[in-house]
Every structure is written in C-alpha cells, then in structure tokens.
Amino acid sequence: MAKKFRKGGVHPPENKSTRNLPCETFPLPEVAVIPLSQHIGAPSVACVEVGQTVVVGQLIGRSGGFVSAGVHSSVSGRVTAVGDVTDIRGMRTPAVMIEVEGDTWLDTVDRSEEIVHECDLAPEEIVARVAEAGVVGMGGATFPTHVKLSPPPNTKADTLIINGAECEPYITCDHRLMVERSREIVVGATIASRALGVERTVIAVEANKPDAIEALRLAAAGRVEVAELRTRYPQGGEKQLIEAVTGRRVPSGGLPIAVGAVVQNVGTAVAVYEAVQKRKPLIERRLTVTGSGVARGGNFAVRIGTPFEKLIDHCGGLRDDQIKIISGGPMMGYATGNMQSPVTKGTTGILALSGSEARRRPETSCIKCAKCVSVCPMGLEPYLLIKLVRLGRAADAEPRAILDCIECGSCAYTCPASLPLLDFIRTGKRTVAQLKRERDAK
C-alpha cells in the first residue's frame, strides 16, 4: 500500500514529458555567474580577487557562519568580476563572475566513475566534509545540509527520510537521478544516517515513478527502506512526507526534528555521497527544462552559474512572444523576468509556459464552494484568510494559523473563481510575521 498524507491535496496533470529522457551533461558556459548566496542563511564571503585564476571545485566564497554554506567554482578560468548581479527576483546579489578556460579540476576530487560504498568516518568527520563541500538542500529549499545533519543536542533524530517524491508537475530531474544513480543515492543515504545515528532510513518515492522505485530497491538490497507514496501534491512537502512515512505530524511552528525526523532530497543524498566519498564540492546539479514554451525538453547536469538563457537556447529557444519562465515547478516555482539568471544549487528546473498558459485568469466572485478549505493540506481556511488580508485585518489571520501555510498553492490551483488566494496569504504572512517580531522585541 502506498503511503499517504491524510489531509487535502490536489492532483494536477503531471505533464512529466521528459521522464524518459536520460540526463545529458550540459556544455560548459563561456562565463559562469556564481552567486555567493545560494542557500538559506548568511551569504558566503568572496575569497577570490579579480584576475585570479581558479579551478573547478576551488572555494570562492567562504561560509558566512554556521547556518551558511561555502561556494565553489564550478568552472576553471579567470575571475573577471566580484560584485553585484541581478538575481532571479530582479534583486542585486553579490556574485563571482568567471570567464571559462578549459576544464581543470581541483586534484583532490576523485572524478572516477567507480562507486565507493564503504564509509567508516565518524559522524563529525562526515558533517565536516559535507560542510566543506558546500552542500545544501537540493529540492529547492537550499537549507545548508551540514546543519540538518547536526541536530541540536537536546533533540534526537530516529528517522531519516530521503525525499524522492518529486510531486511538482513537469519536473523530472529527481526521477532521472533515481533511475540513473540509485546506488549513489543509497550510499549517500547510509552516510547521512550514519552522521545522524538514526535507526530508520527511508527513501520515499511517489507511485508514478515505478522504474525509480525498482532501481532504488535493487540498489538498496535491504540496507535502507524504499517506500512507495501515493501520487498526490504536495506529497513532497516536508510535513506531508513525514506524516506519510512515520505517521507523525510536525507541530505548528515546529521543525521536523520535533518528531524525530530529518528529510533530505535525493539530489542532496548524491551530493552528500560525492562530498564524503569523492571529496567533490557541490558545483553542478541536475535540472529539467520543459514546458510548452520551449521546442524540446530535457534533463541536464548543469554547472552552477550557467545562465538560464543558454539552457533555453539549447532547447530550441522560446516559441512564443508571451512566455512565463519559471525556476522550479508550476505549483511553487518562481517566475523570473531575468533570462540571465544563473542556475544555482536550488534550481530544480526551468519551466517555460506559453500563450494562455502563461497568463493569469481573471478573478471572478467567490462562490463559497469551500474547495480551497478541503484541499488545504494544513487544514486552513484560505477563503477567510484572503478576506481578512484584503480588509487590512491580517492580524486577525494569526489565530487562524496563517503562518502554518506552506505555500503549496493547492487553494489557488483549485479555485473555480481564480481568486489569487496564495498572493494575499503570502502578504498576510509577512504582516503577521512582522507583528510577531515586534511583539517579541517588547
């Protein structure tokens, strides 16, 4: 029986047309633009100068604190600039620009194809290697992995869940990763579970990827569990995933560790494997390019810092005059106006939607159908939250648990009146968080 979360959720058309396309190694860019803040937490601090030559894997940004991550050069060449660039959100962000020359790697990196299974390192040494390699959560949230692997002293993790749900429509890079690199995922998972000292390690995959489940079961050979999940969005949401696998619900405002769980994406498991066993820093990632806006889709292994435009051109360019380019999936991805945005550690895909797909539908009257309430996986009342926020009464949304919203977008997706429910809930969350900070400051 497939495991499932119990409350709400939707099942959008999957549109995973690239699911059977093997991952291709994407050509090196001419110039790599590597942001110094690709993770949650303090930005890293540049430690290279203009004119300096760097090699692949060399540290170019030193971690800015405990909750931070180092940034490594994804290419070899000459640093042409260290300064601000425009990021995906159109904001200025510090970055290192490198003109690519050849492809010379740091010689400590083991680039062989051979899989290194054994790991008898102490947990502290594993965490140190993960931190050194700049590994962050690769499902899109980009939380520094070494922090997750070292839970606070008064907590205890008993279950490690490797998230292979990939519940976002269109995106297939994790699917391909699970099919093509199942052994690395399993080794990465056992290393992470060793670091955490957990009793149970589960790789959890949605039922719509039977080939991935089969490959993982074969690779796991009973050493770790492989669980099948019901295909339903947002199955890959941390709280929903923990509930499906362990039956425990993370309390409101709490972290997964409160119920003894740690969740890592399958891509992160591979990054952990490479960091610990191959001493390879996180300098490339897999992503999916897809959607009606590009001529052809594909799954690619891309160096960090490659501009979106290069990937889109490689896939035949944009097919329409009106296009929405989304970093990530259609439910939670971020629509960008910047074709020069670089691929970062958290870029799961580039989705190009064209024509009417790219447009928002006009809002009509709320008909009180209550569908937003029944699909909310957190048990909230989206119709009420949008009403309160629109009336300028965001403070009243706090006791209605607006901060519990995980921004999955199921409410807005399902609304027959096309109300911009999540837009206003986000605004309300920001207001409530601000009020809370002010209250705590007193």
Partner: protein, 319 residues
Amino acid sequence: MEKKLVISPSPHVYGGENTLRLMLDVLVALAPALAVSFWVYGWNVLVVTAVSIASCVAAEWLLQRFLLRGPLTVGNLSAVVTGTLLAFNLPSTLPLWMVATGALVAIGVGKMSFGGLGRNPFNPALVGRVFLLLSFTGAMTTFPAVTDAVTGATPLGFIKGGLKSGLSISELASQLSYADLLFGFKSGSFGEISALALILGGIYLMIRRVISWHIPATVLGSMALLSGVLWLADPSSYMSPLFHLLTGGAMLGAFFMATDYSTSPMNRRGMVVFGVGIGLLTMTLRLWSAYPEGMSFAILIMNAFVPLINKYVKPRRFA
C-alpha cells in the same frame, strides 16, 4: 530582446474548474428529473421551467444593467440554475405570472439584494418558492392528478390528511406504492417527484466532485434516523423511514438545495452539523407542524445558522 516575459507569483497552473463548468454540471444532473417530470406531467413542465429560467435570467440582467450597474454575470449560468431549481419546486399547473413573480423574488430579493452570487445567505430558489407558497397557498398546493389512488394530493399531504380524519397508518399505507414513489408517479412539485432520477443526478454531482457526500448523507441519514426511531417505537402512528426519504423534497433538498455553495458551510465538519440540522428539522416539521412538508423551511432555517457554523465549527488543522 523582443520576447515579453510574464511574471506572477505561484501557483502558475489552474485546475480544470470554473464557475460556469460547475453550473453546467448541476444542470446536467437535473436533466433526468426533468425528463421524468415531463413524462409524468407533460408539456406544462417545460413551459414552467422555461418561464422560470427566462424570468430569473432577465431579472438578474436587468438589475445588474440598470440598477446595480456592475459587471453582468448571467454568463456564468447561476441564474439558469436558480430558475431551474425554482421551477422544480412548483406545481406544473401554476399560473405563469406567478412563476415569473417567484423568479423575480428569488433573484431580486434572494440573490441580488445581498450582492449577487456567493453573497446571498438564503437559497434563492427557496426564497422564491416560500414567497409563492405563503402568497398563493392555494395555487401552490394544488397538484394535477397522477394516479387514481392519491388524486391531487402529495403522498405526505395524503398521509397527514388521512391521519387527521381518523384513518390508520396501515389503511393509508396500503394505498401507496413504494415503486411509484421511487420512480415518480406521484403528485407534488414537479421536480421532486422522481427520487430515483434525483439520486442519479446527485451521484453524478459527487462523481464530478461538484458536491461532497457530507450534506446529502447527513440530511437523509438524520431524516431516516428520526423517522426510523419513531416508526420502530410506534408503527401504527408513523410512516416508515423509506416513505419519508422517497417523498416530498427529501432528495431534491438533500442533493440540490441544501448543497448550494453560498448558503452552506465552508468545511466538511460544518456541513455535517448543517445536514443533521436540516434532516431533524424536516422531520419535525413534517410530523408535527401544520404543513405536510418541511424541507424548504428546514433548509432556509439552517441557512440562517451558516455564518454561526462557519464561525464555530472549524476544519481540523494539520497539527
């Protein structure tokens, strides 16, 4: 760069649902019941339905165009649904000017005066029906004959009247055929007669996820429960639960009237409270009030409680 990039916050895709499609589904679900009514009562059924729909649409369009001067919303077909449901609650012989008057009250008072679709607290079709029932009681309770056994009286009216004149339940029940009640060979408002056709429509709405099972199941369940307890305790004074489920507005009310979006609660737990309230009130009115039928009043009374239910009966949070 010539390309225009569209930017908006997530989510970037929509589900297949919209107001128009939901309304179309309701109309499709009402079609079998309309067909049975046409078969039993003839052309009058279609004429009354057409007049009711036309009057509802015209009322909404005229009010929006000339009085409210807001956007025109007749295109979403909600007025067509209201018109159909109002017609279903009328005798097929009702004078057409009364039909039109009822439609005007349904749309004008029941819906537009509160701000239109989604804002009305009371089911507009029932507002129209109850207005007509109270204003033109005679015309609203005179039904054409269908079978020889119960000429011109609805089964509920027949039982209530019979009990009053001293007949026993067993004598009365022997004159009724449960098959006729199920298929629709009985007197009544023309849309409510075929329990079977209405159940089929209700199942269609649930399969299409236009409605959930919570309201219909709790309305019918609580009706069956209350009438069942009484029937078991004293079968010589009370009709069976099956009789109550197959007669009057039970099926039309449970599947189509009580489930009206704007006038029912906003979460499933609230829907259960609402449905149980309607079921119990319906039985109370049927058994102990001056009227033989209670569904319309029960729904309208529970409509009034919806804001309170929404305030105090909340969905269960994740954690």
